[in-house]
């Protein structure tokens, strides 16, 4: 191991001690401020999360949807980054309940976020990961999900069906 020789600096008294103490404090203070000047903007940039506005996205026209059927629709995030590619898409299960009423469910399972599928014949949503099942109204039918499927607001604007985008629902 490396051995450090005992300090040979002569013992100082009085103003010399004050001077050294000042120099130590000066160095520590300047180093801290310097480090903070670099770290603060870097950490702030890292922690900065992209907030998206909530906007209405058109997913089709009224005639595209049959009453009683549930289909998968894809729509773009409110303000996708140019390099987001296919990941700018979000999907939902959209059902036309009657002439003027629609209902849209998030495809994200409330258990751990896997994509749920709609089984048209069985009138159930089923998750392929851990076997969560939801009824047609989104309520938990069986398995581990702790709460019902999340819903998107839907509206009819003139002849088009629109979904209000929202952040990924997390617990």
């Amino acid at each position: 191991m490396i051995e450090i020789p005992p300090s040979e600096a002569p013992v100082k008294h009085g103003p010399e001690i004050n001077r050294r103490r000042f120099l130590v404090r000066l160095s520590i203070t300047l180093s801290s401020i310097g480090a903070a000047l670099i770290a603060l903007p870097s950490v702030a940039f890292l922690l900065g999360l992209r907030k998206s506005p909530q906007i209405w996205r058109t997913v089709g026209s009224l005639d595209d949807f049959k009453i009683g059927s549930t289909v998968n629709v894809a729509f773009e995030d409110p303000s996708p980054l140019p390099w987001a590619g296919v990941t700018a898409q979000t999907t939902a299960w959209l059902r036309r309940v009657d002439e003027r009423e629609f209902i849209a469910f998030s495809t994200i399972c409330t258990h751990l976020g896997c994509p749920v599928r709609w089984l048209a014949e069985a009138d159930l949503f089923m998750c392929p990961c851990h076997g969560g099942v939801f009824y047609a109204d989104g309520q938990v039918a069986s398995g581990p999900p702790p709460k019902p499927l999340n819903q998107y607001p839907v509206r009819i604007n003139k002849n088009s069906v629109q979904i209000l985008t929202m952040p990924v629902p997390i617990a």
């Binding site: 191991m1 490396i2 922690l47 999360l49 992209r50 907030k51 998206s52 998968n72 894809a74 995030d77 996708p80 980054l81 140019p82 390099w83 987001a84 590619g85 296919v86 990941t87 700018a88 898409q89 979000t90 999907t91 495809t107 994200i108 258990h111 751990l112 976020g113 896997c114 994509p115 599928r117 089984l119 014949e121 069985a122 009138d123 159930l124 089923m126 998750c127 392929p128 990961c129 851990h130 076997g131 099942v133 009824y135 047609a136 039918a141 069986s142 398995g143 581990p144 702790p146 985008t165 929202m166 952040p167 990924v168 997390i170 617990a171």
Partner: protein
């Protein structure tokens, strides 16, 4: 040869490298005797890490960390013959690293090498273990195929279970409100800069401590650790019977490390990297995200535990386990090191290994997962092509019963096998179960007409013990 030697002397004169490295190489280590080969696991973990650094740099030169393009760069890398091998080495190198760091941790725990004065060795090792887990998770995700994409959401949803800050943490993982352009860059930075940088720093610290405190001697029942006398005793031991690390002990590290390299490269060439999944397009709804083998056990546990215990398992379980790892060297800082006098350590290690192996196996079969690609039952199973039994078989498939219940080898295995339902269940029992559902079975009260129900009953009642041709595909 002479010129080389002169060049070295000149370099050493200017740098003094041999003064620093010489004592490091020559430092005496205790004779490990019978347990000598147990001491190679740490250096082998480091070798696996170095494999990852080298292949990682090569892979990064062909990778574009953009949510929109990463997938096609992976196709590019995997399509090139050398790229495929490098990706394979990186993949099997990751597996090697996680296996070796696991075994190294177990070795240190069983031999209680974490006791005085090596508590900091243990703590820095725990940090390296956690960082390795973080590396394999982020690495799998960078493949950015369908599983990679959904892994982000699964990670965010799990983080969301953390009390108070869960929501923020989940969106921090997504890098915003939704998965998008910023998400993948975040994981790239963590996997390529942040975590490896920390690993380098902590490995340096860990190695410094190994030299500073000396490599622990094999435990003996007669020599419990007494912090007051340990260091002088250890130094006397080294002076008495220590051997220089290089090459008396190091040759084993080299031989074992070479075998690790050979195995990893061999697997990369023969087996190759895992296939890429579908592209990370959330509108392709047929997605079945699965973790890599080292997380299978956790994946299985998450589905098999009762609902009320989820917070316990997802948040408090890891927190308590982490706290136990940190507290261990302080709570058990002295005394017996021999595993023979610490039988509980064997029980704990065996329990953890059993849990990982058993649930890992369960995770592979995934019996809880609805088998959603199960085809309709073929006519040789149903027995007839028309009438109520045939209708019932169709209902059995269309209503999703078959995704969880097996009949004559077809279907899922989450629910009970119904191959002989006609022998074991009365129509009343079947009807009750279909109507009322259960913890893991939906109620079909509002999802089935009475015609469908009676057809289904007719089908299930026709399931009797009789020879049936085995199906061509009875796998999982």
């Amino acid at each position: 040869m002479r010129m080389l030697k002169q060049a070295w002397l000149w370099f050493d004169d200017l740098t003094g490298v041999s003064k620093i490295l010489g004592p490091l190489l020559d430092h005496p280590v205790p004779k490990a005797r019978k347990s000598a080969w147990f001491y190679v696991l740490g250096s082998a973990t480091l070798i696996a890490f170095l494999i990852q650094v080298v292949t990682g740099i090569a892979l990064a030169s062909g990778y574009v960390p953009s949510s929109g393009q990463a997938y096609s760069t992976l196709q590019f890398i995997s399509g090139a013959p050398i790229g495929r091998i490098v990706r394979g080495i990186h993949y099997f190198g990751a597996s090697a690293m996680i296996i070796l760091i696991g075994l190294h941790t177990i070795r240190v725990y069983l031999m209680a090498s974490y006791k005085y004065p090596r508590q900091m060795n243990w703590l820095s090792g725990v940090a390296l273990l956690l960082l390795t887990l973080a590396m394999v998770f982020t690495g799998q995700l960078l493949r950015w195929d369908q599983t990679g994409f959904w892994s982000v959401l699964i990670a965010a949803e799990q983080a969301g279970r953390v009390p108070l800050i869960g929501n923020w943490l989940g969106h921090f993982i997504l890098a915003g409100d939704t998965v998008g352009g910023a998400t993948l860059s975040r994981f790239f930075v963590a996997h390529v800069f942040l975590f490896p940088g920390l690993i380098f720093l902590i490995v340096g610290f860990h190695l410094y401590l190994v030299v500073h405190n000396g490599i622990s001697e094999p435990p003996s029942v007669d020599r419990p650790v007494d912090p007051k006398t340990y260091r002088p005793w250890f130094h006397a031991l080294l002076a008495r019977e220590g051997e220089p690390f290089w090459p008396d002990a190091a040759w084993r590290d080299v031989v074992f490390g070479f075998l690790v390299v050979l195995t990893v490269v061999g697997l990369a060439i023969v087996v190759g990297p895992p296939m890429l999944g579908k592209p990370p397009d959330p509108s392709i709804i047929e997605a079945t995200p699965r973790p890599e083998w080292y997380f299978f056990w956790y994946y299985a546990i998450l589905s098999l535990i009762p609902k009320w215990s989820e917070a316990l398992v997802m948040v408090w379980g890891p927190a308590i386990f982490g706290a136990a790892l940190i507290l261990l060297p302080f709570v058990a800082r002295k005394g017996q090191r021999s595993p023979l006098r610490r039988p509980w350590s064997f029980v704990i290690v065996a329990a953890i290994l059993f849990m990982i192996a058993y649930y890992g196996e369960v995770g592979k079969i995934a019996p809880w997962s609805p088998r959603m690609e199960a085809p309709p039952l073929p006519v040789q199973v149903v027995g007839v092509t028309s009438g109520p039994i045939a209708d019932g078989a169709r209902v059995f498939h269309d209503k999703g019963c078959e995704y969880c219940h097996k009949v004559s080898g077809y279907g899922g295995i989450r629910g009970p096998d119904l191959t002989y339902a006609g022998d074991t269940l009365t129509p009343a029992q079947i009807t009750t179960r279909i109507y009322s559902g259960a913890e893991n079975m939906p109620s079909y009260r509002n999802n089935m007409t009475s015609d469908q129900l009676s057809a289904l009953l007719a089908f299930l009642r026709s399931r009797h013990r009789q020879p049936i041709e085995p199906p061509p595909d009875s796998g999982q």
